[in-house]
Structure formats: structure tokens, C-alpha cells
Symmetry: C2
Subunit: 234 residues, 2 copies
């Protein structure tokens, strides 16, 4: 890898079509940003600016920190890829981009105000937000799969479903699973037998009651602690 050859002008840049039209891009200066090895381009919790980043040289890792866990690497980014696509419409970053070597990025303006002002129909900007949110969802799924223990993954799935039901105005503690054990197993990256055993374990710990497809979360807080790798019983 090392660094990719620096092209000082934008003419041959593969991102040029995206950049063109954003304010200062046509005059190459000023929009580049250097990020030294082990420095962050942005960190989880940082306020989100109005730009996405295209990598000109170097490389980055994307880290996401589950609460109370050490950060997990959810991806790597190389030229000519982008950073920040997952935060459109967000107030703060949900993950960190750390340079693996001395790197350089271009800042590409994302016209947030145009969306805020609603001067255009929602459709196209709304789609941006939607796509960005979908990326974050996939990233959370990746984080889920980083949990070694099947118990944690199952707890995470149950809490995710719970939150989605809650968001729709349905009970967050009691609902019906639409999927089979095999589907759950495949999603969680374990065998169906393991799913069965984990259900028994969670029931024994009085965290949930799950029979056939009907589930009742008896202790969501404890499930969350399990996901976070903390002691289940406080």
C-alpha cells in the first residue's frame, strides 16, 4: 500500500464528478486535509460537519465503540474510497476514522442546508438520509457479529427488534417473532442448535421468555448489560 501517487490537480481524480459544483473544489487548494498516522479524521461523538471525505492517499480504519466495550474495527478504507457516508443527517458521528498511515483526504461539501430548508422536494435529499441510515444499520449488524458469545448476539437481536417495535408504537417487551429459528441462526452466524440452547440459557437467567414465536423481554436492562459485556446482575 504505502501512499498512492499524489495527483495535485483534480482533473484525473475519480471523484471529480462528485466534487464539481461544490464551492471551492475547483481551486484545488484549501480543501485538502492531512491526517497523520494514528490521528483521527473524526471521532465518534464529534459534531458532524457539512462534508464527506474522499481519500486521496493513505488508509483508514473505521472504529465503532459499543458502550463499555473497547472500540471494534468495522472496516478499512483505501483510496479512492469515501469516509463519512454514514453520517448524513446525523448530529454527531457514530464512529471514528483513524489514519493507519499519513494520509490525505479531500473534503466534499454535502449540502445539508438544502435539505434543512426544504426548498427542494424531500425525495432526493430524503433518499440521502435514508441510505445513510441504512449504512449505519448495517454497521450495527457488523458490530453485533463481533460479539463472540452467542448469548450476546441473541440479546442484541432481541433488543433491536424491541426498539423497532417500540418505534412503531407497539409493545417493546412483548411481540411475535416473524422468523424461524433457522433464520435467526443464520442472521446471528451460529447454528440453529446453538440458538435453542441460548434461548434456554436466557430463560434460566430470567432475561426473557421465548416460546415458539412469542417473546417477552423480562429484563431489557440486563439484556443490554449482556450485550455490553457487563455483569448481567448488577
Amino acid at each position: 500500500m504505502s501512499t498512492f501517487p499524489e495527483r495535485s490537480r483534480c482533473e484525473r481524480c475519480p471523484h471529480q464528478p462528485l466534487c464539481r459544483g461544490t464551492a471551492a473544489v475547483d481551486q484545488t487548494a484549501g480543501l485538502r486535509r492531512r491526517v497523520g498516522r494514528h490521528e483521527s479524521l473524526f471521532r465518534a461523538g464529534d459534531p458532524v460537519g457539512n462534508q464527506i471525505y474522499s481519500i486521496r492517499s493513505g488508509s483508514f480504519k473505521l472504529e465503532m465503540a459499543a458502550p463499555h466495550c473497547k472500540p471494534q474495527v468495522i472496516g478499512f478504507a483505501l483510496p479512492p474510497e469515501f469516509l463519512g457516508l454514514n453520517m448524513l443527517g446525523m448530529a454527531v458521528h457514530s464512529c471514528s476514522a483513524v489514519a493507519l498511515e499519513d494520509s490525505e483526504v479531500c473534503c466534499i461539501e454535502w449540502d445539508r442546508q438544502r435539505f434543512r430548508g426544504r426548498r427542494q422536494p424531500l425525495q432526493r435529499d430524503g433518499l440521502h438520509l435514508l441510505l445513510s441510515a441504512e449504512i449505519r444499520r448495517e454497521q450495527r449488524a457488523i458490530l453485533m457479529l463481533h460479539h463472540t458469545h452467542a448469548e450476546q448476539r441473541m440479546a442484541e437481536l432481541m433488543l433491536t427488534l424491541s426498539r423497532r417495535h417500540d418505534a412503531n408504537g407497539y409493545s417493546s417487551t412483548q411481540f411475535r417473532l416473524p422468523m424461524s429459528r433457522c433464520d435467526m441462526a443464520s442472521y446471528l452466524g451460529v447454528t440453529p442448535e446453538c440458538v435453542s440452547r441460548v434461548i434456554v440459557q436466557l430463560r434460566r437467567q430470567a432475561l426473557l421468555d421465548l416460546r415458539r414465536r412469542d417473546v417477552t423481554l423480562l429484563d431489557p436492562a440486563a439484556l443490554q448489560r449482556m450485550v455490553d459485556g457487563q455483569p448481567v446482575r448488577p
Copy 2:
């Protein structure tokens, strides 16, 4: 779960802002599509249409099939979520959406022609494509994490990096890793010790040579077979 309450008109639909403006949405009829339990809304390999789907009732699983492997569930989708966000700009679908119960979706037009015709500056539609591609990347990462064996995950990472280098015009068989063993381990969802051991195994099998940060892929085809769960030696 079961089915969410059917709202026959779009007025109270949370997707209404996205739909408004697309051709036939304002007259509710005709754009709904029913999908029976275990039927597919779309299948991997199907040609992509000009629409994304919003789930009105029911639920879906998203399945992705690695070549020569049985399909893996990479996600679940419930109302009021969307399907098809990962295929903007694609010719064929990369995964299948299978209804877990009798379901109903709205078809929302994605104005592909507007992008094709370039009547608008690329910036905004280009961003759509970019975001959609990013979703697909995350989905591939999810698929990677479904491989039980650390050997397979490592092989997958090496091949991914190889392809990215290839796409940039660099050698696809010989390159330098920008990340540490710990970063690789975190990304792969295993311990650094396990990464070390896997490297030894892959070297013993003459699949690659990896010392410090310099890697040479000695047998990419065999690595691919390993990822696919086939016998490494044909």
C-alpha cells in the same frame, strides 16, 4: 409482529414525503404489491427495476448467497423500513428479499433515468449511487463475519484488499498491509493470537506469504475456494 394495521391511504404513511412527487403514488391504487409468505420480492440475480420498496405490512429477511454456499440471512426488515436501497445503479440484485409472512409493500420510483441522462449535475445522484454501493460493501462485510472459521475470514480479507488494489491499478498479488495485526483481528472478529496462527496455517498451505506487513498471494484461486467453503486443493 403479525401484520401492522393497514392504512389504505397514504396520508398517514411515514414514507409519504419520499413518495410524493413520484408518478402514481398520489392515487393509492396499483403501486402496492402483495408478497406471500416465503415468496420473494426480488431475488439475487434478478434485473433491478426503477423502484425501491417500503414495507407497509409483514416482514422480510434479506438473504445473500456467497457462491457455493447456502444463502445467509444478513438482515431483517420490518415496517416502516425499506427494501432495495442497496441496489441503486446496479443491473441485478445482489441479494434476495423473502417475505417471512404475508406482506405488502409500496413501490417507490427511483428516477434512474434522471441519472442516466445526466440532465442534473452528477453530484446528488452520484451520491445516491455511492451510498448504495457503501451499503453493499457493509453487507459483504457482514457476509464475511458469517464464516465460522478464522481461516475463511482472513482469506476473504486478503482477497478484498487484493481486489481493491487491483481496481486502483496496483498489483493484486503483492502489496503492503496498512493495518496492524490487532486491527485485522478486530475487523475479523477474532483475537490477535488467532490471526497469527491463521497466518501460519495459510503459509503452510502455500496460499500466501505474509511477513510483517508485506503480503504475497500465492494462490488467489485457492483462497477463494477457502472462502467459499470448498476444498482448497481441487
